[in-house]
Symmetry: C2
């Protein structure tokens, strides 16, 4: 895969189907495009992978560590590995999720 339209990739259901993401992988990076309906809650969770969540559209009340903030378009959460994070969408959202190392569980 060299060029791709992320949203055209087969969806992966995560968080028990509450979220459907479209993921692509290099050797070190996983990138996902995720569309979330309003009032979707991602429960607090953690993983060893670093994560960046970048909001393209919508308003996403996001928590990680001891901080909670409403992310708007152009804002990002920079989440070290092993830190608890989660949130609730205040509107429909479209976000980019990045991980390193690769999320082998999202292939």
């Amino acid at each position: 895969m060299s060029f791709t339209t992320l949203a055209s990739l087969p969806p992966k259901e995560i968080f028990g189907g509450a979220v459907r993401g479209h993921y692509a992988h290099l050797e070190r990076i996983t990138i996902g495009e995720v569309a979330l309906q309003a009032n979707t809650t991602i429960p607090l969770h953690q993983h060893p992978h670093e994560q960046v969540t970048y909001v393209i559209a919508g308003r996403f009340q996001f928590t990680f560590g001891a901080e909670t903030k409403v992310l708007e378009p152009g804002m990002a959460a920079l989440i070290p590995g092993g830190v608890m994070h989660g949130g609730t969408t205040l509107t429909a959202c479209r976000v980019i999720d990045l991980f390193s190392p690769v999320r082998e569980d999202y292939r």
Copy 2:
């Protein structure tokens, strides 16, 4: 840094000032938001870091390896380390550039 508005970060001039990007870093990931004027050319170049370029807005004629494609919003180029790449914006563009390992030269 935990939450950030990427475009509010101090800009880094790259490619001799043709491009100004706003970059943030974790231990494994660099994420940058880059605004490009129409008809900006990024010369073909390479680096050992993997890169993903994701187009948020605009049309970006992008080449890597032997392939050239016009990227539109929602499209991404997935570029392994060491592969030549570059392109020309057909309109003003806003893109996300991701790298792993971290671009120490973009700090």
